[in-house]
Symmetry: C2
């Protein structure tokens, strides 16, 4: 039941824009969800997107502004006056409004804030701008329903009705004391099933999960997932209730974090999309390729050390890409499992037991692969006994070393506080190429003697 945006539909809209048929466009877009309109605007050229934005009413455009691609948003915001931006923000929840203000240039920020009509809303937004965007404070919104522990349910319901009118979705009703310190919560179910005469102090649940304003966003995501929470209150240093984080914001954090790790594993260092500009894509990709190229230089140098082998055992050089590929693949597998284990907090046991496990695993995999290699080289490639032995022993050794490098570099990085995801992909394949080739030729020299 999702709205499907067809090429014909886009063409129809472009036609209507070019003929300036505002009323028909409004009618056409009337029943379409803001997320779909944002997608449609992404398909249009800039002037078309801005045209659409201007003919819709601000309730819809505010949500569109949130959904749309960052670049298109930037262009639209540049076209709008500070007063117009403030009108959009008045329609949004505090956390979303703060996110958009944070994207504005410094001088415009203040102008836009001064144009906000609702003073309470403006105060909340300014408060949210103080926090780091990757912390609980940066994620939270100010919209929440809270009641005083000293009230009775009747006062409560009255107050809540008023508060709920400003809150899009009521997740939980928080209970605070006179100093606004978080004491507990009331569930919506309690609200529906408890008699209105009960005093709050008797019905509230004193045990409540919370995070602090400076808790990192990925930590908040992990806690909410672990404890299966749809919303979590945020407290400041003094234990006062200052905001709440809802699960939909956490879905974005989880998605972003997963995308980031995935891109790092593929050697892409910034958050880019297929539709980004060539310059942006190059900036994200080139550094890793330069790293790989420098690693490549080292492999050339390493092989240069063994060029005496060229005359008597030239075939040795035919196997270097095979050895390098195996080292790279094993290393990436090991590092991926460790990086995920660290992220999901599912790694138990000591470093030593991990070492034993990786070595056993590599011995098993390496032996199976060496057997395939021996059979393959014998029947397919017609390799003599000594060379076959050299390649097989090298393969097993390289696999063991590669898996140890793949396992322990991420663990090490994590220990010193660096994102272990950095050590997947090109970093591991490049180091393993170098080590693999060095091990291979060293073993070859020992066996074949050149």
């Amino acid at each position: 039941m999702e709205f499907k945006i067809s090429r014909d539909f886009i063409a129809q809209i472009e036609q209507l824009i070019s003929e300036n048929r505002e009323k028909e466009l409004q009618d056409l877009l009337e029943d379409i969800h803001y997320a779909d309109i944002a997608e449609i605007m992404g398909e249009l050229d800039d002037s078309g997107a801005i045209y659409i934005f201007h003919i819709l009413d601000s309730e819809k455009t505010a949500e569109i502004l949130l959904e749309i691609d960052e670049e298109v948003r930037e262009k639209i915001l540049r076209e709008l006056s500070s007063k117009e931006i403030a009108e959009e923000l008045d329609e949004l929840s505090t956390d979303d409004a703060a996110d958009i203000i944070a994207e504005l240039p410094q001088d415009r920020k203040e102008e836009v804030i001064s144009e906000l009509v609702d003073v309470e809303h403006a105060k909340d937004i300014v408060d949210l701008l103080r926090y780091d965007e990757d912390s609980a404070g940066g994620l939270m919104g100010k919209e929440l329903v809270k009641v005083n522990e000293n009230w009775n349910v009747l006062t409560c319901v009255k107050e809540m009705r008023e508060q709920a009118a400003n809150v899009q979705r009521v997740h939980s009703i928080y209970v605070v004391d006179d100093e606004n310190r978080l004491k507990g919560r009331l569930s919506l179910k309690d609200l529906l099933t408890t008699s209105t005469k009960t005093p709050i102090s008797e019905v509230y649940i004193p045990k409540v999960d919370f995070v602090k304003v400076d808790t990192p966003d990925v930590e908040v995501a992990r806690i909410m997932q672990k404890y299966d929470l749809e919303a979590i209150p945020v407290i400041d240093e003094l234990g006062r209730l200052v905001g709440r984080i809802t699960i939909d914001d956490i879905v974005d954090v989880i998605k972003e974090e997963a995308d980031k790790d995935y891109q790092l594993a593929a050697g892409i260092s910034q958050d880019v999309e297929a539709d980004d500009s060539i310059i942006e894509l190059t900036r994200a990709r080139l550094p890793w390729l330069v790293l790989a190229l420098l690693g490549g230089f080292i492999t050339v140098k390493v092989m240069g050390l063994f060029d005496a082998a060229m005359k008597a055992h030239g075939e040795l050089f035919f196997y270097t890409p095979l050895i390098a590929a195996m080292a790279g693949n094993v290393g990436v597998q090991s590092s991926a499992i460790i990086v995920q284990g660290i992220a999901n907090n599912t790694i138990s046991g000591s470093l030593f037991s991990r070492l034993i496990k990786e070595v056993s695993l590599s011995l098993l995999n390496g032996t199976i692969l060496a057997i395939i290699l021996i059979l393959g080289s014998h029947f397919l490639l017609d390799v003599d006994y000594d060379l076959g032995l050299t390649i097989s022993i090298s393969l097993i050794s390289v696999i063991i070393i590669a898996s140890l490098i793949g396992t322990f570099i991420p663990i090490l990085l994590n220990k010193v506080g660096v994102d272990p995801a950095l050590a997947t992909g090109p970093f591991i394949t490049t180091s393993n190429d170098i080590c693999g080739i060095l091990i291979y030729f060293t073993i070859a020299r020992a066996i074949l003697g050149f």
Copy 2:
């Protein structure tokens, strides 16, 4: 405020278990969240975990059963009678209960179902077992609050109070007709802010997002994310309301899908964790390594075709790992961006414009890298002019081809209905190794003439 499980705490629990001090264990675990107890049980040996399970009351154990590692769960379920399992399931929501039953052997399934006390609950669970676990039907639960469009608000509130008692979290109130066909929804906010005398037909929102029972789970996740939904109703072929999916189930789908793509990109073909057994890890990793090894054979064969170069231009062979590494890295980058773009539905434009973009991007990256390569080879490796030219032209060509392979293989797979994530990692690096080396030696032969 998350509970931190220390080694000391585990040791204390092991001590209490060995001394059979049941009461003290119960007191110790009393205030600990089920998710934390599940984690603690994961750290104990099997008999310890089962001991803990037996001394806790079924309200807590049911939730623990859901949270705990699949292997530990399997062992615990084997220890329990069908009646005991049914008691646990009676505490769980229908979707969670159905998930656990689905893991049981066929003969036990029926036994357990026949032991369920609550007949309505049992009927719902049996109904859910019909659906594919990767579809909306497999994700949905039966717990929802629905009202008839023909009721007035008074009847509604009374009915809802009763229904809400069986529902853990009230997300939305769905409106159906006499045939149980989904007509629309009532928001909780409306409930809190509307006078109780209003008739339903006047307040309900006729526009409601929904999915069908056979919608794939990743599609449900995408829709709920796109439209920012916390719950979505599920309808059957006749438009009847049969269940609802909540955002916490979707968080799991997103996480699993991201983990799966990440693992595929790293050459790991099943959902494994660092703590899985060596056999399981081998089963997930070995197939990709065999693929890479077979690819390696082909690179050996390809180089064999050019062995005439060995005498006059032996240094050519020093560069094969460098060329292969660059081809692999570029290919993985391109495929990762496309795979993510396909997953997030953010790829626009024609195949031809994508082709132009990839070629331009590769030309830019390739030229920069070739310049670094020429300078590096000249100053670091003392390479002569012809060889330098050969390597540079090869590098640019290989980068272009590798990025095209990386881009279009996932697109092609997606078109024929295969998961494009399969084409990241080892698959792309192996094909690119082969193509890269073939291109390199072909260009070398053309320039150097051997």
